[in-house]
Structure formats: structure tokens, C-alpha cells
């Protein structure tokens, strides 16, 4: 099946220790297979060797090599460090960054077998996915991200100098609380790259400083502004403010009446970061599945070629199996579906269907079964899908049986849970649909929108949570976030929870006033 399996080559390495020449040699061997056999298309790679302490550092700032400063990162660092030192958790073997060049961090402690695995996994698997998947192509700017983060770090440091650490921290706290409501979920025409954003901001500040005229401050302004009269003031207001708006950070940045320019820019930075990470949230299964399938293929091919010794291959299999291990629901280790396991299983199943189909496969996946072109199917899936659509499209009965998946109906009003679909003919589709939904970030996160602002009155900001399946917000958390929101908005904030089917208000949070407005 493999094109040149017959050629036996010398093992790439035999020992555990490694130096740069070893890594280079291994990289070249992997690269050949990745390009020639898997036809991967990757960003140029940059591999950085780091120590475990630096790995912890990287953990703390969302895995990015540079990031602005905030106490919450210090908190995460302190916790990760403690967990690591006490041996509760191990460290990741690698971290990979969606940037161009694609940066992979590898740990100095790893054996050469592990480095081989990590290179195949991160430098080729993830890298290919970052470069080719539609979500990343459309939503992230791999080329600009590091420059933008550099700018963000500098900008926030400068704000801290100018306006005080406390003031900046307050805005960042509030912005972080709204981070998952700070993304555009639906595409708008691609506007500017992050590099342009940065240049524009620098230009904007320079222009304002150059044209600053103290005299203008003395001109009295009308604090309320004038509303032009119209037929339907509510309609007109909604249109003028661009409501409803689900990207709360975007709305505040553009519309909050009392924010200073720099505060808007800070919101903008947090929003851009959230948007950059949004595709990663939506493609955990696929991203890890892709990387795992790639490393599995490459490691097997290296072994077949004789480039990997049996000992090294066994070491690899040991790590690989623990990575794709899926504990069962009654296992104490169980903590949800393992994205590595699920993604890898689906991709392997697709490969099996393409080369060795059963009758069932022909019924379920007529276009894949027996086509022989498993790589084409993989490449297509990697390019065009996200977790939710990927599962909905490609999760086959074989994998459902292998995982022994079943669906539990959990109605909080009922005393008991009900099993309403299992891994049989009657249940496959139901299980698949529900599993896909559980990977739909837009469904997992509450749908909260700005629906109105009382412009003529006290400027109360009105939010609406469109409740799905009767799952309302956690009241404590919501109130805390509303407080942050009110501080940014500068006036009162109201939140309703609405049943989208009946448009009936289920729950109304008490109106929150700004306690410590940032402006």
C-alpha cells in the first residue's frame, strides 16, 4: 500500500540522547514522508527547544510566546506550577502556535523518539491543519499574530505607564469576563490584517497627538446628543447602533459612551485575541485528530522503512496509545470525550472504509467506501470542516460501536436520566447528531446579545439571553459579569433570559449599576 515500502534504510537513531544534527536528520525524514506521501502543505517550521520551566511559562499565557501582562496569567502559572511540582499533571510534550513561521516548542527532556513523534504531530500535523482548514484561513492571520501580540503587549505596558496598572487591570478584567462573547461568530467580509490594524492604531494615535488642540476642550458639547426625529424611533435606534449585536466587546468598543480611546483599544486587543483563538475552540477534535493521524502514519512509515528501530517504535506506541485512550464513563479517569481519541478514530475509520469497505459502509458513506482515495477524503475533511460538521458528516457506525457510545436524556425536571439511544441501527443517527451538537461551540456558549439601549432615558443597556433547551445562566457568574459590563458601559445594565420559541421572558436579572466605572 505504501509507495516505497520495500526500501530498507538505516535507523535514524538508536539511542535516547539527541543533538541538533539528529533532530535535523529526523526532521528531513519526516518531511519527505509528509510531503511525498501525505501531500501536506505546511507553513515554514520553526522549532524551539525549551526547558520545562519555560514550558510552564508558555502555558500561563495561553501558549503564546509573548502576551500582555495580567494577573490572571500569574494565577494560572502559579496553579500549573504547583500541580506540576506535586506531580498531579505532566507537561505537554509540545506546544504549537498558529503562526507563520509555525513555531513548535519541544521540551529538552524528551527522548529522540518523543521528539520524532512531536515533530510529526506538531510541525506537520497541526501545521498543515492551521494552514489549510477553512476556519483558520478565514478567521486568523498567521502571518500577523506575533507582530500583533508584540504590539498589544507594548501598548498595554504603555497604558499601564500612562494611566496606572490598576486602571488597565480593571479594563482587562472586564474584557476577559466578556471574552467568549467577544467574537464574531458569522463571517463578515475579511477586512484588515492584524499588521494593518497595528499600523492603523499607531497612525491614529500619532494623528491625534499632532492635531491636538487644547481649545476644543473648552467648546461645550451637548452631553445627550440629538436624536433626529423619525417614524419609528426604536427601529431607527436599533439600526443606528447596529443592534442586535452578539459581539459584546465589539459593541462596547464602538458604542460605550464613556470609554477613553485607550480603553477602547484594550477591548479591541482582547477581542482580536478571542477571535484568533475561536477557530481552535471549534476544531479541537479535528485538529488533534489530524495531528494524531499524521504522526501515526509517519511513525509507522518510518518503522516500515527501517528508519525507526523496534525499540523506538514500541516507545512511540506506548505514548500513542495513552494519547488516544478513551476511558469509559464509569472509569474514575473519565472526563468527557477525548478529542484525540475521537478525531483519530474517525480518520482511521475513513481510511479503512476507503480501502476495505463493508456493506454497511457502502450504505452509510457511498462516496467514500471503496474509493481507495483515503488521503483525498482526509485532505477534504481537514480543509473544509469544523468539529460539529465533521462529526455530523463522518462519524460512522463502526466508531460508535467501538466507543460504545450511548445517549442520555437529562431533563432537570425529571428525577431520573433516560437512555434514549445506543450504538445500534436505531440509535446511530441520534447519537451522532447529539455528539455533533456537543461539539458546537455556538451551542455550548450562551447566546447573549445586546438588544437595546435606552438612549433617550438613562442609557440602560439591555441584553438578552436566548435560552436553548431551558438551560439558563449560572446566576452568580452572570451577575459578576454584568457588574464588569456595567463598569465598561458606564450606566445600568439589564439582562433578560428569553425562550426563543415563545419569546416569553423566563428570567430577569436585577438591573446592575456601575460600581467603579472605568471612565
Amino acid at each position: 500500500m505504501a509507495p516505497n515500502a520495500a526500501v530498507q534504510q538505516q535507523p535514524l537513531f538508536t539511542g535516547l540522547d539527541w543533538d541538533y544534527r539528529d533532530v535535523m536528520r529526523v526532521y528531513d525524514a519526516i518531511e519527505r514522508i509528509a510531503h511525498e506521501e501525505l501531500e501536506l502543505d505546511v507553513y515554514p517550521n520553526q522549532i524551539e527547544v525549551i526547558s520545562s520551566e519555560q514550558m510552564l511559562d508558555a502555558y500561563a499565557s495561553m501558549g503564546m510566546p509573548l502576551f500582555y501582562r495580567h494577573w490572571s496569567f500569574g494565577k494560572h502559572f502559579a496553579r500549573d506550577e504547583m500541580l506540576y511540582r506535586k506531580g498531579y499533571t505532566g507537561l505537554a510534550y509540545e506546544i504549537v502556535i498558529n503562526s507563520k513561521p509555525c513555531i513548535s516548542y519541544i521540551m529538552e527532556e524528551n527522548t529522540l523518539t518523543m521528539q520524532t513523534l512531536v515533530l510529526a504531530h506538531a510541525a506537520f500535523g497541526h501545521n498543515h491543519f492551521f494552514k489549510n482548514n477553512r476556519l483558520f484561513r478565514e478567521w486568523t492571520d498567521a502571518e500577523g499574530i506575533l507582530d500583533y501580540l508584540d504590539f498589544a503587549k507594548g501598548y498595554i505596558a504603555e497604558c499601564e505607564e500612562r494611566y496606572g496598572v490598576r486602571a488597565v487591570e480593571q479594563v482587562l478584567d472586564a474584557a476577559h469576563a466578556l471574552m467568549s462573547q467577544g467574537v464574531h461568530r458569522y463571517p463578515k467580509p475579511q477586512t484588515r490584517s492584524l499588521r494593518e490594524e497595528r499600523d492603523r492604531e499607531i497612525e491614529r494615535v500619532r494623528y491625534e497627538e499632532q492635531t491636538y488642540n487644547a481649545l476644543w476642550r473648552t467648546v461645550p458639547t451637548d452631553p445627550d446628543g440629538e436624536l433626529p426625529g423619525g417614524a419609528d424611533p426604536v427601529e431607527q435606534r436599533m439600526q443606528r447602533l447596529g443592534l442586535p449585536e452578539e459581539n459584546l466587546l465589539y459593541f462596547l468598543e464602538k458604542r460605550a459612551p464613556r470609554l477613553e480611546h485607550w480603553q477602547r483599544e484594550v477591548l479591541r486587543i482582547v477581542r482580536h485575541v478571542a477571535q484568533y483563538f475561536y477557530p481552535q475552540k471549534q476544531t479541537k477534535v479535528m485538529n488533534e485528530g489530524c495531528a494524531t493521524a499524521v504522526h501515526y502514519y509517519i511513525m509507522n512509515r518510518l518503522h516500515e522503512n527501517g528508519q525507526l528501530t523496534d525499540g523506538a517504535f514500541l516507545e512511540f506506541l506506548h505514548s500513542h496509545t495513552s494519547v488516544v485512550f478513551q476511558p469509559e464513563f464509569d472509569d474514575p479517569r473519565y472526563s468527557g470525550i477525548n478529542p484525540y481519541a475521537l478525531g483519530f478514530a474517525i480518520l482511521q475509520d475513513l481510511r479503512r472504509m476507503a480501502t476495505d469497505p463493508t456493506d454497511e459502509d457502502r450504505r452509510w458513506f457511498p462516496e467514500v467506501a471503496g474509493s481507495g482515495d483515503w488521503l483525498g477524503v482526509w485532505q477534504h475533511a481537514w480543509r473544509e470542516y469544523r468539529d460539529e460538521s465533521f462529526i455530523l458528516q463522518f462519524l460512522g457506525p463502526q466508531v460508535i460501536r467501538d466507543f460504545r457510545l450511548f445517549r442520555v436524556h437529562d431533563d432537570a425536571d425529571e428525577p431520573e436520566l433516560v437512555v434514549d439511544a445506543i450504538h445500534d441501527d436505531a440509535g446511530y443517527r441520534a447519537v451522532r447528531r447529539s455528539l455533533a451538537q456537543r461539539h458546537d461551540v455556538a451551542r455550548l456558549e450562551p447566546d447573549i446579545q445586546v438588544v437595546d439601549v435606552d438612549l433617550a432615558g438613562d442609557r440602560t443597556l439591555v441584553l438578552e439571553h436566548r435560552v436553548s433547551d431551558g438551560v439558563t445562566l449560572d446566576p452568580g457568574e452572570a451577575t459578576a459579569v454584568l457588574r464588569h459590563l456595567a463598569n465598561l458601559w458606564g450606566y445600568d445594565v439589564k439582562l433578560y433570559e428569553v425562550d426563543p420559541e415563545t419569546e416569553r421572558v423566563i428570567n430577569e436579572f436585577p438591573q446592575v449599576s456601575p460600581v467603579a466605572p472605568v471612565a
Binding site: 525549551i50 432537570a412 431520573e416 455550548l444 433547551d469 445562566l473
Partner: protein, 426 residues
Amino acid sequence: MVNIIDRRRNPKGKSLANRQRFLRRAKRQVLDAVNEASGRRKVTDVAGGEQITIPADGLHEPSFRKAAGRGVREHVVPGNKEYVVGDTIPRPDGQGGSGGREGSPDGEGEDEFTFAVSRDEFLDLFFEGLELPDLVKRQVKKAEQYTQQRAGYSVSGSPSNLNVERTMRNSLSRRIALRRPKGEDLQALDEEIDRLERAGTEPERLRELIELRRNKQERSRAIPYIDPVDIRYNRFDHVPQPVSQAVMFCLMDVSGSMTEDMKDLAKRFFMLLYLFLERRYRHVDIVFIRHTHVAQEVDEDTFFYSRETGGTLVSPALAMMRDIIEDRYPVSDWNIYGAQASDGDNTPADNPATTRLMADGILPLCQYFAYIEVGGGQAFHVPSDLWRAYDRLARSESPLAMRRVQTRGDIFPVFRELFTPAELKG
């Protein structure tokens, strides 16, 4: 093309700034925890680093989340063994039950939060905002502390202090004022002469130019590019640095009436005081005096670590303190502080002498005198002899402060109270 970079040599502690922000943010909780931790540890390692646990509230990062235990959810779970459609499963109560964790798939739980602080961080937190009260600059000590301060420019100095910018500025203005020919003018002139010589058409003008060049060259030689009068040096003044000298007297009762517990408390207090002074004040002398029925001036090791016992007389210790002040620490030059720890037990006959010594000999000399009474933890406190005696003194306008310490947990708050500057107390 691949690039392999070794980052291991990069500076560590990239998240140090974040950590500092975090500690500042968590200050109140961390302080409480540090306080608690300080009571737990042995007296000899009060100053070590510490693992502390703080509650997560206040450090919580809220977000809009879906509430657990409401509405309708559909979980897909792996590992079915026996269930068929229609089976019911009792609702797992809370966490830990099978499938129960599915209840909060989006939202990590956060409880208590444990992390380690280093020795320096620990002490910084410990002593933050504390000060010796009324530290006044009694006398500027001569020749001990000088700092260099910029004081303009001078025409003489060592070459290393040459101020190039000033020097060149002077040189330039002098050259302009005296119309020293510029280098490029001379060069242009040279070229012109060259050209004319080769052409040989205008001998008259050539002669003129050669004459001009001779003049200019002479002038240029006569007026140097940099003249000694141009040269300026950075000038530094030695400014005496006012040093306020202070001495702290640590008086500890080690008599037989003090139980091991009480001695432990007293030592803890002095250990804190010692660390505090060492860390904050470079120019503080510390005198250790311990007493039974006799007083002894000892070094810090003996003070903290040796064991001794005997009867109780307070006045010899005070007398010794007074004598030492007379001998070595003239009041005109020194800020004097005292801290005394005792169980309050004193031979009754000694009380009048003690009171007299305090009132006449010690308190008038002191900026501040802290008296710590360590108690064995009786529920109801009967004022001790010493306490009653001092209490009378404390009432009048005197620098005497008195506190009781019952348990280890009290030490840190009492310590903070004694050394928090008045303006911060409000």
C-alpha cells in the same frame, strides 16, 4: 526549510511580572494565609519560603456560563455495557457519580488555590507597610554616607568625566566666532587651484587664490579645532547622605516562670522584629538583652537558640539597657527603640524599681517602646504585676505600647499593629 532554535538559555521567569500582579491582587488573601502559615512553622524557619493556600474568591474570573442542573441536556457517553433504549439511570448526586461530571462540561471548578511563595516574596508581604515609628534624623553622621550628585560642568576634571557634547558645542561656537575656515572650503579651494593650474589660463586669479589659500591655512593653524578653553567636564558633588541611626533593644525574659510555649512566642516575636529590621533598615543596630534575675547582653545566636533559666527580676534588664544607652548610644545621635517580651511575672519587690527605671530612665530616651506580654492562653486574663505597672505609664503621653499575645496566631497581627504607621491605621 526548518529552523531550530535553542531557547533554553533565554531568561526564565517570563511570567514574573504576571506573578507580581497576581500577588498584589491576592494580597489580602495571601496576607491571611501567610499569617496563618507563620504560626505553624518552627521558630527557626519563620523566614523560609512557604506553600500557602488561598481561597479562590476575589481571584475568580467570571464568565457567562450555562447553569448546571437546569433545562434539558443530551449527553453522549462512551463505554455502554448494559444499557438499552428506555433504561433509566438514577440521577447522580453531585460529583463523583457515574456520568455525573457531564453535568458541567463547560466550566472548570475552582476551589482553594495552592501555590508556593519564595522567601523574599514571603517577607515582603510580611512586612509590607510596616515602619519604625517616629524615626527622626537626629544627626547627620559625618563622612559615612556620601552620594555623588551631578552639579553642572567644570573646566577641570579627569578625562573619564569629559563631556563631549558640551566640549564640541563650545568648540563649534568658538570656531564660528573666530571664522576658522571650514575643511570643505579649503578643499574646494584646493580643487579650484588644481583646475586653474592645469588649465593655466588665468594666472592672475590663480595667484590670488594661492594667496587666499595661504591665508586661510594660516588662520586654520592659528585657531585650533578644539582648544583647551572649550573643554568641559561633568562635575559631581559629594552630598552627605543623612543617615538616621537607630538602635533596637530586644529584652526577653527567659526566667523559670516562662514556659516553653511562652518562650517560643517571645522568640517568634523577636525573630519577626529581627527580620523586619534586617530587611528594612540597613543602619539599625540591634542589642539583645535577656534576663532572669540577672541581665546579660548576648549575640543573636545565644538570644534565639540557647536555653537558660532562673528567677525573675525585670529592673536589671532595664538598668542594663539604660547603661548601654549611656555608654554607646548617645540620645542626641540615636533613635532608640525598645521591645520587651515577658510573661509579666516580676518579683513584687522589684516593681517600684522597674516603674521608676522605665518612667525616668528609659521612656524619656525612647522613640518607641513595645511591651509584649505572652500568656499561656488563659481564657480570662488577670493583669500581671508588670502589666499593671506599665499600664499606668502607658496612660500618660508616653511612647509605650502594650499588647498581649496568647497564641502563635496572635503574633503577626500584634506585630503589624505595633509597627503600622499611624497614618495608615485609619
